[in-house]
Every structure is written in structure tokens, then in C-alpha cells.
């Protein structure tokens, strides 16, 4: 039904296994509780492919809670979250989106490559070495591929863990759920990430973002959701 928003990839794909990137996210009367207290209620949003959804609100407004619900990590107290592929087929959150939270989600004892291919396998993405290398190159940290995660600096850790978002066969394959992604990044990396987000949006992905920093992101469609 939201087909008209989709980026036409008909010429590029051809492969059967290719998951159409054009997803649509619909929240209906969504509410969440934490510790028995309502953090937000009656959230209704309809987000089409290629849209940047900025989630705004003060600390404690439930931004992270919302993102976790979208990622399938938390349960809503009321309402529904629906991810749809372009052909209106409903997707599970794990198939539709990748979540990058405050934690790096990498084990200190394993190398960057081992961590990333583990993450890819669980998300149903491509964790083969060329893909991992390409993802790290896009973030300017390809030299770290065989380093133990525990031996990296904080900034390197953040970059290496963001590479998880780029482990896909085609840009725009998954929606990105980013919880304060610019924290702990230097300005160069911030603009690098912003341009990666821009590219992903242009390829038809939905990007949901919570951020207190004002980093300019090149997006043709921006929606804001105030909690």
C-alpha cells in the first residue's frame, strides 16, 4: 500500500534471496510502562521507506524504551508495532531492523571480525570476511579487523560496533534503530556516520534515531516524534 514510496530496485536485484528493503513501520496506540509507571502512551506513527524518524524528548521520556520495543527487545503495554515489507508481508522486528544501543554488543576477548560475524549470523545478515572488511572500511577502521575488541580505545570500539549496521548485502536492506549513535564519536566520525545514514535513507531504509546532538543528516523525508 505504500509502494509508491519505494525506491525501485527492480533492475539491481534479480536474486531471489534479496529481501526487499522497502519496509513500512506502523505504530498504533503504542504505550509502554517501566516499573509500573507509564512512560508514554498513545503513540501513533506511520513511517514509510526512506524516512528518517527523529524521536525527541527529554531524558526519561522513553526514547530508548520505544527503540527497544521497535527492535523486539521489549514488550509494549498496549498497542501494536508492525513492520511490513514492500509486498505488505509482515516482518518480525529481527528481520526488519538492526538495533544499535548504548552498549557496543561486542565481547572483549574476541576479535572485531569474530564479533561482527556473530552479530551478522544472529541478525540473519552476511558476516563473511569481505562484507565485514567492507563495513569496517566504510567507517575507516579496517585495520582493526583482527584486533581483539578489548584492546581498542573507546572511539575505536564505537566505530567497530557501528560496523554491525553495514553488514548487509545491499544498502537499505534493514531499518536502523539508533539510540544516541553520535555519543562518544569525534566530529569526523559523526559526519561520517551522518553520511552513512543519509546513504541508507536514500537506498530506501527507515532510520529511527534518538539524539541530543544536532548532527546534520541529509534526508529527503524527515518525521519527528515527540515523546
Amino acid at each position: 500500500m505504500h509502494r509508491r514510496h519505494c525506491v525501485d530496485l527492480g533492475g539491481i536485484q534479480g536474486a531471489r534471496s534479496f529481501v526487499n528493503p522497502c519496509t513500512n513501520l506502523r505504530l498504533e496506540a503504542l504505550a509502554a510502562e517501566r516499573g509500573g509507571k507509564t512512560v508514554f502512551a498513545d503513540v501513533n506513527v506511520n513511517v514509510a521507506s526512506g524516512t528518517l524518524l527523529r524521536v525527541l524528548g527529554p531524558n526519561g521520556a522513553g526514547k530508548t524504551t520505544l527503540l527497544r520495543i521497535l527492535a523486539g527487545l521489549g514488550a509494549a503495554s498496549a498497542g501494536t508495532v508492525q513492520w511490513h515489507a514492500a509486498d505488505s508481508m509482515e516482518l518480525r522486528p529481527g528481520e526488519a531492523a538492526v538495533f544499535a544501543g548504548h552498549a557496543n554488543a561486542m565481547n572483549d576477548a574476541l576479535t572485531v571480525a569474530e564479533n561482527l560475524s556473530y552479530a551478522a549470523a544472529l541478525a540473519g545478515l552476511d558476516g563473511t570476511t569481505p562484507v565485514v572488511r567492507r563495513a569496517l572500511t566504510q567507517l575507516g577502521v579496517e585495520k582493526l579487523i583482527n584486533r581483539r575488541f578489548g584492546s581498542l580505545s573507546q572511539g575505536q570500539r564505537k566505530r567497530a560496533s557501528l560496523a554491525r549496521l553495514l553488514l548487509r548485502a545491499h544498502p537499505g536492506e534493514r531499518a536502523w534503530l539508533l539510540d544516541e549513535p553520535f555519543v562518544a564519536l569525534d566530529t569526523d566520525t559523526q559526519s561520517q556516520l551522518a553520511s552513512l545514514i543519509g546513504e541508507e535513507l536514500a537506498a530506501g531504509a527507515i532510520v529511527v534515531l534518538t539524539s541530543h546532538q544536532t548532527v546534520a543528516i541529509n534526508a529527503s523525508r524527515i518525521q519527528e516524534l515527540a515523546l
Binding site: G94, E95, L110, A121, L122
Partner: protein, 224 residues
């Protein structure tokens, strides 16, 4: 296909961690050694007495040292955030947990099973009894880890989880303890241990069928 990729990845990661961090299997073995080597000093060197308590001490020692590894199942991953990868995966969580327990059982089970006949020498146990003890330890370790996974999942974000895990898990391992040590005792008395082994096997299968599902549900509740 991607379920296979996901379970393989979980299993492989656990094995990589075993290879990288020697303390993961060395600590339980050292603990096991300490427990087993202290008793003969305390009890005295009468070999008949040692034989009788030896089976029980070795079995309990193996169970306790396997329990030391329980926090590794989820707690560490919860801290660094990689638990979320497993929770957010669209593959069934129970299967992923099972893959993880299988890997941990393999690593820890082999280490403890190999150590068991060696430590049995402290208690002057005959070779056939030591062998049977190793077999029942090999069966008891996965059972304990399966049961323990439920408690570890429930207490993943609780402070002082380790002692609470022990409180929750140990009573549930009593049947395994009775039949496991019982099998070795039967061999010591020259009787057939088949009944005990069969019951222990049944307990393992029951845990195999139920515990991953319960652990998955518990993990979802405690991380929500």
C-alpha cells in the same frame, strides 16, 4: 538455513571464548581439584572410608564447579550488550540458548570428565568405579547447566545473582546427584549400574526438552 547459521555462530563463539580465555575452563578445574584434594586430609587415609566418601565428594565437587560457569551463560553478555543480539534475533531464542548450553557442556563436560578419574586416585577408587564416575559426571554436567540456565536467565540482571543461582539450582540437581553417585556406588559394590544410569539419562532428556524453553521465557521476562 539461517537458523543453522545462527546456532552454528552461537556454538562457535562459545568455543572461541573457551580457546581464548583459559580461565573459563581452568578455574572450574582448579576449584574441583581443591575440593577433591582437601577431603582426604580432613577424613584421614583409611582407604575403605575414603572409597565410600570419595564418590560423593567427587560428584558434588564436579557439580559445584560446573555451577561456577553459570554466570558466564548470560550475565557477561548482558553487561556488554551482546545478549541483545540474541534477544533481537528472529530465530527461536530457546534453540540459541540450547546451542550455547551445548557448547558450554562440551567444553566444561570434557574438562571435568577427564579430571574425574584422575581425582578418583586420591580416594583409592578402583578403575571401573572411576570410569563409571566419569560417565555419570559427563551426564550430570549438561543436566546441571540446563537447569542452571533457567536460574541464570531469571537472575541475569540481579545483584548477587551467583548465590541466588546456587540456591535455585542445587535443589533441582538432587535427583541427578542421587542417581549419578548411585551408579558409581553400584559398581563399587559389584552390582549393575544400568537402572541408575537410565534414570539419570531420563533426567537429562527431560531437562533437554524443557529447560531451554523455560530459560528463553525467563530471559525475556528478566530483560524486558
Amino acid at each position: 538455513m539461517s537458523l543453522r547459521a545462527a546456532t552454528t555462530a552461537v556454538f562457535r563463539r562459545e568455543m572461541q571464548l573457551f580457546a581464548r580465555r583459559k580461565s573459563d575452563w581452568a578455574n572450574p578445574i582448579v576449584f574441583f581439584l581443591i575440593v577433591c584434594s582437601l577431603f582426604p586430609f580432613a577424613v584421614g587415609s583409611e582407604s575403605e572410608k575414603l572409597k565410600l566418601i570419595g564418590i560423593g565428594v567427587i560428584f558434588v565437587g564436579a557439580l559445584l564447579s560446573a555451577m561456577l560457569s553459570l554466570p558466564r551463560l548470560f550475565e557477561e553478555d548482558a553487561r556488554d550488550g551482546s545478549l541483545e543480539l540474541m534477544l533481537a534475533s528472529s530465530e527461536p531464542l530457546a534453540v540459541l540458548i540450547l546451542a550455547r548450553i551445548a557448547a558450554l557442556s562440551l567444553g566444561l563436560g570434557v574438562a571435568l570428565t577427564v579430571a574425574t578419574p584422575v581425582f578418583a586416585l586420591f580416594y583409592a577408587l578402583p578403575f571401573d568405579v572411576a570410569g563409571m564416575l566419569a560417565v555419570s559426571v559427563a551426564m550430570a554436567v549438561p543436566t546441571l547447566l540446563l537447569i542452571g540456565a533457567i536460574a541464570a536467565a531469571l537472575l541475569v540482571s540481579a545483584r548477587g545473582g551467583a548465590i541466588l543461582t546456587a540456591v535455585l539450582v542445587l535443589p533441582l540437581t538432587i535427583p541427578t546427584l542421587i542417581f549419578g553417585a548411585g551408579a558409581a556406588l553400584k559398581v563399587l559394590y559389584g552390582e549393575s549400574p544400568v537402572a541408575e544410569l537410565a534414570l539419570q539419562g531420563a533426567f537429562l532428556l527431560l531437562a533437554l526438552a524443557l529447560c531451554p524453553l523455560a530459560a528463553a521465557a525467563a530471559l525475556k521476562i528478566s530483560t524486558d
